[in-house]
């Protein structure tokens, strides 16, 4: 499976944020998307998620030798701030989600099996989501996106502000599901990108560029990334 981005261009008034981007993301890999503040990482995700109109460009998904335009259902988008319906309990939220997607889900599990998978303790499963901690809300957001089984998973700094245990759990979980998905993971933390991601892609001056990490130590890789990110047009 491949996600092919062709000629993606997005500008806000005179400022070109994404400049004729051409890139191919492949299944089975976690892509670490690095960029400076304001470089357009979130805009890039918003374009893919069809949240904002863009000036030019196409997104195609090649799966089982068939090429189709990327659909909303192909994408799961996990935001940095977890958003969950606070008036529901975690169980009710999952029930609603499973109810309305019952015809789509292939490998169905029970609600409790899903909770076990994401490490949500039994005593928390019937609590209102408004009483969940930041990390637990984040887990719920991630869980729903994973159950939906989208082909492409966009993660916008999802591990920021999580405690070390939850962050580690999430990293392991992402590694466990990557073989069936294309995962694009945006972060500011270079160590995290280097330890979790298979490929490093930087967004600078409106262009996406893959940084080849072959035969490079972590330090050498960091230097290379910093150099690439500070390059002017």
């Amino acid at each position: 499976m491949k996600l092919i981005i062709n000629h993606l261009t997005k500008s806000f008034e005179e400022k070109i944020v994404l400049n004729d981007i051409n890139f191919t993301f492949k299944q089975g890999k976690i892509y670490g998307l690095l960029g400076r503040n304001g470089s357009g990482k979130t805009t890039f995700f918003n374009c893919l998620d069809q949240d904002i109109p863009f000036d030019e460009g196409t997104f195609n998904l090649i799966k089982d030798n068939e090429t189709n335009t990327l659909q909303l259902t192909d994408i799961g988008y996990v935001l940095s701030t977890p958003n969950v319906p606070e008036f529901l309990t975690a169980r009710e939220f999952l029930k609603f989600f499973l109810d309305i997607n019952e015809d789509k889900l292939k490998e169905k599990k029970t609600i409790d099996e899903y909770f076990d998978f994401i490490h949500i303790a039994e005593e928390d499963r019937d609590k209102l989501l408004k009483d969940y901690s930041y990390g637990m809300k984040n887990k719920m957001q991630m869980l729903v996106n994973i159950i939906a089984n989208p082909n492409v998973l966009l993660l916008d700094e999802p591990l920021t502000s999580l405690d070390v245990v939850v962050a580690e759990e999430m990293k392991e979980m992402l590694k466990s599901i990557k073989k069936d998905h294309i995962i694009i993971f945006s972060t500011h933390i270079m160590e995290l990108a280097l330890s979790l991601c298979d490929e490093i892609v930087i967004l600078n001056n409106g262009k996406l560029e893959e940084i080849d990490r072959k035969n490079l130590t972590d330090q050498a890789m960091k230097d290379k990334i910093i150099k690439a990110l500070t390059e002017e047009k």
Partner: protein
């Protein structure tokens, strides 16, 4: 001190101008013509300064004029048999005391204070005092012309007319110093937009004393009033040193300005928590209810049940109120036959008036807001929730709920009006009975559909719950205007009822078609 005042005034002006440009930039069509460079446009800034000064003048004089004219002068002249001057002073004194608690300026949480003291780290004490004294000056200057004009018209001696504005300022100073002292003693402070229960009770008592006593021919005579005002003014002067020496303004504003009482739209980090607190305050989330339904109905059912306070209680209150009003009306008709004819004549042509009433009591807009703040705000970040099938199925469930919620009071009003029409003398055209009832129901359904459809077609908020579309506000305002305009109309039940029913049916059909065609594209978070 003056330079601090100038800086804060410039800041307020910049904030006003930028807010104005931002609002204009949100309008459809116009927004594509205006560029972000407008924010640095010098002539526009000068224009903004002039605009800001005009606003200051309006703020200084217009409010005071309306207050003195409408609330004091006009109401004072209603009391017959009383000397108008003593009623004027009497009402003024009690309202001033109530107002000094409810309108302190100092404890009003406003954005300009937040920007100045926290974002720009201006000296909190200096900023507060300069702006406070400026406001006190505005109170004196703003009141003076109107206390003179309306005071003299009420035969109040000139000396008292001249003293009243200083008395208003004095009570404000005394109350502010009292509240500061309370903070020093008890570590407690509340912003004036969320007064404590005791404050409401006190205001209620003062209002009752202001307006009820003159009714029983009890007013404070002129001389004691004058003495009271002079003593108040002298006492306030002694409190000035307390205000000047108080050193905990920053502490106080830390409490007031972060208590979830400001919509700090541009401060995203604070905003999420503030919004969250507001939502939790407004919406009663009960955790002991559940639902046996499935899928969309399950989701919507839980939403309605867990938000019964904001969704159902108000509809129930309106229903009870309508029921009482109808019973009272029927009793009046039976007790006073001459009034019956008048009511009958009025009812036969005043159906348009009820468009405005039905607009006012419809919960559609509040329901949509609650839906966004406590549900869609988070759910729209999920791709599956934005699929056309999900949007339309949930829309259907929601529409049913909103219509049912609003039908409760509408049915009572519809039946009540029909009954009043009947007992007050009836109508020659028997068709007018069902038409009256059905048109009230049609209005209720129309507003329910209208609010929900507008919400789905123009969803105006972004993920931080900031309003990003002025189109939605414009549409709401136009709806209000159109309904308000209906008050003026006098059209017989038969023709207006028929028009209302046909219009409502057509509107609902068209908007439902639009929803099916457009909502999957429009119902998403603004970016």
């Amino acid at each position: 001190m003056f330079s601090c005042f100038l800086k804060s005034f410039k800041l307020k002006t910049t904030y006003r101008v930028n807010t104005f440009i931002y609002s204009v930039k949100q309008l459809p069509i116009i927004k594509s013509l205006l560029k972000n460079t407008l924010y640095s446009n010098k002539p526009l800034k000068v224009l903004g300064l002039i605009f800001s000064i005009i606003l200051e003048l309006i703020d200084t004089f217009l409010g005071k004029f309306l207050y003195v004219f409408l609330i004091i002068f006009s109401l004072a002249s209603i009391y017959e048999g009383e000397s108008s001057n003593s009623v004027f002073i009497h009402i003024f004194i009690f309202l001033t005391i109530a107002g000094s608690f409810m309108n302190t300026y100092m404890f009003n949480p406003t954005k300009d204070k937040y920007y100045a003291m926290f974002s720009l780290r201006m000296d909190a004490k200096l900023y507060t005092l300069t702006n406070y004294y400026y406001t006190i000056l505005k109170v004196i200057v703003g009141f003076l012309p109107f206390t003179i004009i309306f005071g003299l018209m009420s035969h109040v001696p000139l000396i008292i007319c001249l003293i009243i504005p200083f008395f208003v300022a004095a009570t404000k100073i005394i109350v502010a110093s009292y509240l500061l002292k309370q903070y020093e003693k008890k570590d407690q402070i509340t912003d004036e937009n969320h007064p404590l229960k005791g404050m409401w009770i006190l205001t209620g008592i003062l209002l009752a004393l202001a307006f009820a006593l003159p009714y029983f021919h009890l007013t404070i005579p002129l001389i004691p009033s004058l003495i009271f005002m002079i003593i108040t003014i002298i006492f306030s002067l002694t409190r000035l040193s307390y205000l000047n020496n108080f050193n905990k303004y920053k502490e106080i504003y830390k409490i007031i300005l972060t208590e979830g009482n400001m919509n700090l739209a541009s401060y995203k980090t604070n905003n999420t928590n503030i919004q969250k607190k507001q939502i939790e305050k407004q919406i009663n989330i009960k955790d002991n209810v559940t639902s046996n339904k499935h899928g969309y109905a399950y989701f919507n059912d839980l939403f309605v049940k867990r938000h019964s306070k904001i969704l159902l209680s108000s509809a129930k209150k309106v229903t009870v109120f309508a029921l009482i009003a109808i019973i009272v009306c029927i009793i009046i008709i039976k007790a006073l036959p001459p009034l019956a004819l008048e009511i009958n004549n009025w009812l036969l042509v005043m159906l348009p008036y009820f468009v405005f009433i039905m607009y006012l009591i419809n919960r559609g807009q509040v329901v949509s807001q609650a839906m966004f703040m406590n549900c869609d705000h988070s759910m729209l970040t999920y791709g599956f929730y934005r699929e056309p099938k999900v949007i339309l199925n949930l829309f259907r469930e929601r529409l049913k709920s909103v219509i049912i919620i609003n039908l409760l009071p509408a049915t009572i009003i519809g039946l009540g009006l029909t009954l009043i029409l009947f007992v007050s003398g009836g109508t020659d055209n028997i068709l007018e009975y069902p038409l009256l009832f059905i048109s009230i129901i049609a209005m209720s359904i129309f507003f329910s559909v209208h609010h929900l459809v507008m919400y789905y077609l123009l969803q105006p908020y972004n993920v931080n719950s900031e309003m990003k579309s002025s189109t939605y506000q414009v549409v709401n305002f136009l709806t209000y205007l159109a309904c308000y305009w209906m008050i003026e109309l006098q059209i017989p039940i038969f023709s207006f009822g028929l028009m209302t029913i046909i219009f409502s049916i057509l509107y609902c059909l068209i908007s439902l078609i639009l929803i099916y065609k457009l909502a999957p594209k429009t119902f998403k978070l603004r970016v």
